[in-house]
């Protein structure tokens, strides 16, 4: 059986070219990416082009490498010594794994939402303006305006405006996740990465976050790892299906869910295995 049928780039839905920088590649483009952890081949020759200003969901059974793939996008594997990566990964036409690529400006382009919201050990407002501060934004009024704007964007302003100075850890977990999103948005990223961002939340908070994603997708490229198929069906524009470290299928949500090309995809989305 051929497992190596990851669609060639030509077959994939043609993403919008980024005209501003003269960059003709899709927003995020993965080329022959391989990742090894202590000689275990975790990601196998991934080729993937993630289109601009849309929601792409990466689905697949547990342990298939979807989170690992997501973390390669902003080089979060840098800290682990036993991880080895080969291949290319372009963000805005810049190969982020090239030798001389500086990492912080790449990470600044991406907001990350972790599985469990992780508020920083400081007040609510300091959490939101943490990013702008480290990138050199100064001035109380300016920072306040940023905080207000971003907290509004995630629908949290009304809930926290009277206690901006109280510890972020006192918020409920759903509020914290929205706070984390606001914190990510505050560095004005182009891309939002979500690593099962709703899996620790209650249904109502999950719904709020999903709706947020839908409402901001015209401004950001959103990549979500999820193992809730229903969530992917609800919000995805594009779907990537991974299995055992390989990218099996990539296409529009309609195509992958309704006319899957690959047998494994068909089995997975019909609940044959998980």
């Amino acid at each position: 059986m051929e497992l190596m049928t990851a669609p060639s780039i030509a077959e994939q839905p043609t993403p919008k070219a980024k005209s501003s920088s003269g960059c003709l590649r899709p927003h995020i483009e993965v080329e022959n990416l391989n990742l090894y952890i202590q000689n275990n081949h975790i990601l196998k020759n991934i080729n993937l082009a993630i289109p601009d200003k849309s929601i792409t969901c990466i689905i697949g059974p547990s342990g298939c490498g979807k989170t690992t793939l997501l973390r390669t996008f902003n080089r979060l594997h840098d800290g682990s010594v036993d991880v080895k990566i080969t291949g290319k990964l372009f963000v805005d036409c810049e190969d982020i794994y090239a030798k001389d690529t500086e990492v912080t400006h790449i990470r600044k382009k991406m907001g990350l939402l972790a599985q469990r919201p992780c508020s920083l050990p400081m007040s609510i407002i300091d959490n939101v303006v943490y990013g702008p501060r480290i990138h050199g934004v100064r001035g109380k009024r300016k920072l306040y305006a940023i905080a207000r704007h971003q907290l509004n964007a995630v629908g949290l302003w009304g809930e926290v405006k009277d206690r901006l100075k109280s510890p972020a850890s006192k918020l409920s977990i759903g509020q914290q996740q929205r706070l984390c999103l606001a914190r990510g948005l505050a560095v004005e990223p182009e891309i939002i990465l979500g690593d099962e961002a709703t899996s620790a939340l209650d249904p109502i908070s999950s719904k709020t976050i999903e709706e947020l994603f839908l409402s901001i997708k015209d401004k950001y490229t959103i990549v979500l790892v999820t193992h809730t198929l229903r969530q992917a069906k609800r919000i995805a524009d594009y779907v990537a299906f991974m299995y055992m470290g390989e990218l099996i299928e990539f296409g529009t949500a309609d195509q992958v869910f309704n006319h899957p090309k690959h047998k494994l995809t068909k089995e997975y989305i019909s609940g044959g295995f998980s």
Partner: protein, 298 residues
């Protein structure tokens, strides 16, 4: 009628309660014992005289503790001033930058260092630090120094408490969740920004606790300090002068010249002072920790 296992449960609980009470009681036992023994001298002289004068002539009945108290504080302050920054930088490097292999090797070395008996540090200090101060360092600042000095005591003490602080700090920094670092890094923070604004901030209570433990240890350290301090009862005018910390005073004199009136009581008072300083210091640091919790909103 209670069943056997329920009875055992009850006995176990009461037994443990008793053990807990006993260990707390020891604290009061020691404090009380020292206080009772030092009462004779406190009745004879006012507390103020004892604490603020530095005349020490047991045969004439002069007992002034000022120079001992100051010596203790000086030496400890120098030790902490040297040890804390070094330990902070080292443990941050070990946890944040070094590879796991270095971490393992280093932890073993630190454990080894904290197991070395103080007397060895004392001998080493006498052989290296003392001559270094008297020949190389002091001539730049003062006319004459034997090398047996406040500074020598501070340095030796610093070297002794560094392993202690590092091993606590390594625990403290490892307890900061990885996700928190990633949250900061993913916003485009550099490693150093992450360390400074997230890791250290999150660890402030732990850092304070480590410092408190180190200071408590430094206050009481006797042998190593005694060997390099000069043990000379004057108010030290510079860090190159000899000094005489309280533990050294007690260790050097207890058991001798006990025929001198009030001498034993005076030494007991010194012990009580040391005990009191440490208790007071711990209480204050508790209060500081509470304030930090409120202020930094961890």
């Amino acid at each position: 009628m209670l069943k056997g296992r329920l009875l055992k449960d009850r006995i176990a609980r009461h037994y443990m309660l008793l053990a807990t009470i006993f260990s707390i009681f020891i604290l009061f036992l020691i404090g009380g014992g020292l206080l009772v023994k030092s009462l004779p001298i406190m009745q004879e002289k006012s507390l103020w005289t004892l604490l603020t004068t530095s005349n020490w002539r047991p045969f004439k009945g002069d007992f002034g503790f000022a120079s001992y108290i100051l010596s203790t504080l000086y030496v400890t302050a120098i030790a902490i001033a040297i040890a804390l920054p070094l330990s902070l930088l080292t443990s941050i490097y070990i946890i944040e930058y070094a590879s796991p292999r270095i971490l393992r090797a280093f932890t073993a070395v630190v454990d080894l260092l904290s197991g070395i008996p103080p007397v060895i540090y004392g001998v080493w200090g006498t052989l290296t630090i003392v001559p270094f101060i008297s020949e190389k360092l002091a001539p730049h600042f003062v006319e004459f120094s034997t090398g047996y000095s406040v500074l020598a005591g501070g340095i030796v003490l610093a070297i002794m408490i560094i392993p202690l602080i590092i091993s606590i700090l390594i625990e403290v920094f490892s307890a900061v969740p990885k996700e928190m670092r990633e949250a900061s890094l993913s916003l485009g923070a550099t490693k150093w920004q992450t360390v400074k604004k997230v890791v250290i901030r999150k660890s402030i209570p732990g850092i304070v606790a480590a410092t408190v433990l180190a200071i408590s240890r430094a206050f009481g350290e006797t042998i190593a300090v005694l060997m390099v301090c000069g043990n000379f009862t004057t108010l030290p005018k510079s860090i190159f002068d000899a000094c005489y910390p309280i533990p050294a005073l007690i260790a050097n004199n207890y058991g001798e010249m006990m025929s001198v009136p009030r001498y034993e009581s005076a030494l007991m008072f010194a012990a009580f002072l040391l005990f009191f300083i440490i208790v007071l210091f711990n209480v204050i640091s508790r209060l500081v920790l509470i304030q930090i919790d409120k202020r930094y909103q961890l």
